[in-house]
Structure formats: C-alpha cells, structure tokens
Symmetry: C2
Subunit: 336 residues, 2 copies
C-alpha cells in the first residue's frame, strides 16, 4: 500500500503523517469536484466530512446549467450537514479544464462537457463553447477558489498523499478524460492562463481514428480516456470502460491486447512528462485507474523503464495516496 507512505526527494520512503482536514476550530467549507461525468460536493469542518452528495454533470440546457447545478448541490449538501449556506467560510472548486478568462472571471472550456468544441460528431447533447463558473459563484459566496482538478489533486497529494516531500512530480487522472497537474523544482506550474497540465491533449501516436472533445483527432485523451474507450470499442463488444477492464482482468486475450495498447499510449505520455520535466514520481488516480490498478500500473511503468535511463532511472508511478478520495480532498486543499 502506498497510501500510507510516500517517497522523499531523496527517494526514501516516508510515513504519511498528515490527515487531510481543516485546522481545529476552522469554519466549515464546501469542496466541489466537477468532472466530465459527475459532480461531487462535500461539506468539511474541523472534525472531517459532514456531508457529501454526487450527481451526474449536466450536459443539457442553457449555458448557466452547470453553475446552477453546483449552487443547488452546495445548498443540498449544506442542508444535509445541518448548516445554512451562510455558515460556509469558503468554496473550493476543483474542475476539469481548460479555463478561459472572460471579463476577469474564469469560464470552463471543457472538452468533455462543452459539445460545441468538437461539434456534433462528438455526440454531446449541447453546443456550448464555454460555461460561466466563477462569476455565478462569486455572486453568492465571498471566498471562492477555482483550480484545475488535477492541479488541486496535485496539491492534495503533495500535502497529504503519495507525493509528500517530492519536488518534481505530477498527478495524472485516468478518468472520463485525462488530466494532469505538474510540479517542478517545488513549484506548481501554471503557465500563461493557468492551464499548464493539459497534457492529456498531447500527441504520442499517429493513430488519428479517434475524435477528442477538444476537436483534436488522435490525442491521448481521444485514444484512452474513459469516454474514448466506449466510443472506440463498443463495436467490439465493450460498451464502456468497465466492461473492457473486467474482460481484461479475466484474461480475455482481445481485451488484454486493447489494454496493452491503451497503456502504451498513456505510458508514452507519462514518459514524455518525465523526460520533459525531469520528474521523480507521478501519482495516478481517476476512476479508470483506481478500479484497475493491478492491471494497469505495471503496463504503464513498463513504458518508462529502460528508456533514456539518465532521466527515467528510479522514477516511480504511484497510485494516488488519497485513493478514491483524491477528488474530494483536492477541492478541500484549495480552501484549507
């Protein structure tokens, strides 16, 4: 179990000593985790998680549908926790990206939610090009912090998870989409618009037989993300990622061959990150990975081992130390 340990900068194992949470006596906060498939809203106080609710991410209606859903879920979650909305000291939002800045406020330009980016061929039931997020939240709450979900998860993994004490590292989610948060020389990378880490849209292969929600054909997300698996392999009998992964775990030869190829593609992206940034470790999370790590982890690690040894030697791929809670704690990390 890596959930109870982490490697230090010097590569030594360290005990994981810090429990995620607010400081003693701190006022309650809401943590919102917006993914391409579902939204989770948790209320935290100094004692821990007071309430948590999830719902499928809205993909229909007007472009304020998502922010209205988030506000409604915060209210419901507060009610479950027995708190008025006004008791919240802050709202942390960890969301799939990218973001665009419009009139000084962040909007979502997310390929797995905004159907207008790749057009009708991608099959999303809307033609949204971007979604207001920061403005409607700030109209209600005085303290709001919104970050890319993988940047937030990276912060959580560095504070409480598998990346404690690691100065050169990444967090990568293999979920509905592929997202990444990057840290080099002890600093989280942001870039010109805070969108550093969108390396799921990297090209590592010539396969151009898959359309990404961003409009690219054949980028990593288009080839391996949870929603890509369904689109690419339904005709071979795998209606969704779970069906394929179960078949591969049971040893079905055709399913294993597909998993080998998916891991080759994502593993190359991880290798590209390591040699571009001279990383020490990458923590992996997301629903596709977390539910199948024994199947996937050695296949991903094999794409690093033995290549350009001066940069990859000793580099570890680690399951997220916070496990399936990494998304919730990512949002918490933003406001604690």
């Amino acid at each position: 179990m890596t959930s109870a340990s982490a490697i230090s900068s010097a590569g030594k194992l360290q005990p994981q000593a810090v429990r995620p949470g607010l400081a003693p006596g701190a006022a309650p906060v809401a943590g919102v985790d917006i993914g391409g498939t579902k939204i989770a809203v948790s209320i935290f106080d100094a004692a821990g998680t007071k309430s948590r609710i999830t719902e499928l991410t809205v993909k229909e209606g007007t472009s304020d549908a998502l922010s209205q859903q988030v506000l409604r879920l915060i209210d419901t979650s507060c009610a479950e926790a027995g708190l008025p909305r006004s008791a919240l000291a802050a709202v942390g939002v960890a969301s799939c990206g990218p973001f665009a800045l419009r009139s000084g406020r962040l909007e979502l330009v997310a390929p797995n939610i905004c159907g207008g980016m790749a057009g009708p061929a991608r099959g999303l039931p809307n033609d949204w090009l971007s979604l207001p997020l920061e403005a409607p939240l700030r109209a209600v709450f005085s303290s709001v912090r919104i970050e890319n979900d993988c940047v937030a998860a990276l912060e959580a993994e560095r504070r409480w998870g598998a990346l404690q004490g690691v100065d050169n590292c990444a967090y990568v989610t293999w979920s509905t989409g592929i997202g990444m948060g990057l840290c080099v020389d002890g600093r989280v990378l942001r870039g010109k618009h805070g969108n550093a880490g969108h390396a799921g849209h990297m090209f590592v292969s010539d396969n151009d037989d898959a359309l990404c929600g961003c409009g690219n054909t054949g980028d990593v997300e288009a080839l391996v993300a949870g929603n890509a698996i369904a689109r690419r392999f339904a005709s071979q009998g795998y209606a969704d990622a779970a069906t394929l992964l179960i078949a591969a775990t049971e040893g079905n030869t055709r399913a294993v061959a597909i998993i080998d190829e998916l891991c080759r593609v994502l593993g190359r992206a991880l290798y590209n990150l390591v040699i571009t940034l001279d990383l020490q470790a990458i923590s992996l999370g997301g629903s596709v990975f977390c539910n199948n790590r024994d199947l996937l982890l050695p296949r991903l690690q094999a794409q690093l081992d033995g290549k350009l040894a001066s940069l990859t030697e000793g580099v570890k791929l680690l399951p997220a130390g916070l496990g399936e809670k990494v998304g919730d704690y990512a949002a918490l990390a933003l406001v604690s």
Copy 2:
C-alpha cells in the same frame, strides 16, 4: 526580422534594447559551446568578442578526450585574444546533455557524443557511456558554470533575444540533435537532476524505424535531428541534412514531402510543449533551422494553429533573436 524585437507577456512587440555583453570594466571570460558536431570557444571582454575558434567535437580516444579538447581550445582562444589563461574570471560552458552527477561533479551523458549509449548500431566511433566535464575544468579554473546548452540559450534569448519579457516560453534547437530549454511562470525549469528540457527524446509518432543515440527508437530526435536526416534518407539520395534542405527549397517534390513529415513530427513536439506548459512563445535556433527558416517556420507553426485553441491561440514560434550567435551568447549568459 524578429532579431530586433520581442513579444511581451501581453503579446505586444517590444524593441530589443540590450546588447549582449559583459558589464563595463568586467574581467574577460571564456564561453564554451559544446555541440554534437562542433565545439566553439569564445573569449569575451567588456568590449565584445575578443576571439572565437571552432573545432569538430572529438568522438575518439579515451573518455577524457572531450575535456582535454575543451581545455586546449580555451588556451588557443586565450592566445588569439592575447591573454594568459589566468586572466579569465570565469568559464561558462553550454553543452548538449543530459548530465549525470558523479561524485558531486557533472558528467556528460550525451547521445550524440557517447557511442556506448545506443551501442554499435548507432555508428559512433567510441563506446563511451559518460564523459567527465566539470571535474577537469574545476581542476584548472576557480569559477566554472556548466548548463545544458538550451537552458543557457533560453537565458540568452530571455535577456537579449526574442523572448525578452516572456514569462512562459521555450528555446528549441534543431541541430545535430534536438534540445529544449523551458521557462514557466518566469522561472527556468530544472528538475531532479537539472535535466528538464530533454523533450527531444519525446515520442510523438509510432514510427519506430529510427534509432536515437540515447537508445530509443522513434523518438523526435531519432526522426528529425540533423544527424537523423543523414541516417534515414541517404539511401534516397540525401547524404546529409543540407542536401535534403537545398532540394526542398528548390521545390523537389520528394524532398518537400520529407520536410513536411519532419516538420509534422517536430511541430507535434512543439505543440505538446505548448499545451503541457501553457506557453506564450517558442524561440527556435540550431543549424538546421537557422539556415532554412522560411521553409521550416510556417510548416512548424501549422502544427499548432487551430489545435486546442484555448491553449494555442496567439502562441508564436519565433526565430532566435540572437540568430546564429545564440550558442556563443548562451555560454556568455552563464558568466555575465
């Protein structure tokens, strides 16, 4: 001409006001530029370049051959400048990488010099696995600074060239090999062993028909670097990169098709950098690029334009503002 201008963080054109050089009254320094093909050593003083000599990089003999060559060239260059070696205040070395730290001193582990990394199939006339560099220089000079050549060139381009005022940027050389220096949020990236930027060894294509000096098959450097062109296309009548590039410039259809494919591969690597790090601009140099920029620049830019617009919109590929002098000034930037 971008050599007289640069874009600011806000994307505006700025005049290039600062001339590369030492402060008035500063003592002379040596700048050493170690490439996979040749080594250049310059002596600079406050008035400018006092002397400059170049020689082909040694690839035979014992593993101290390279450091002995560097020391000899510094002596010769000092003699040409009419200075004793003892007059040098510092030695700056900008070298192709990667580096490895052995007994606290940097050694070179460079695929285009060390023949032992990929073995005999790569055709280098030695079996070196690494080359001492810092230790023999420090035995002679009290002040030595060694950096990856593209990190040094990035510093020079940010101080005096096309990247002045740009906080999220890269310098990329297309030369004997492919090298990169990276800057995000105003800070040059180093990584766990200072080897960040070795993204020339990235995979962007499934073509595995080319052996890199690092031992990889089909990475970007193996497919497009100057020495790769000779290895891959000699059988088609292009004995070296220059022959191919002249034929393409003259409109030879087969040569143009090869150039299109090389630019697709390198352009994808540049796109990968931009979306991974949310960059504003990339400055390009190196002998292959500098001698053919009208042919190559639009083909590379085409690999960015229109892809994942929220990250690539407005991102510029720029010829190095320091032109063919970027290597010399890179070494100078380390000690001025």
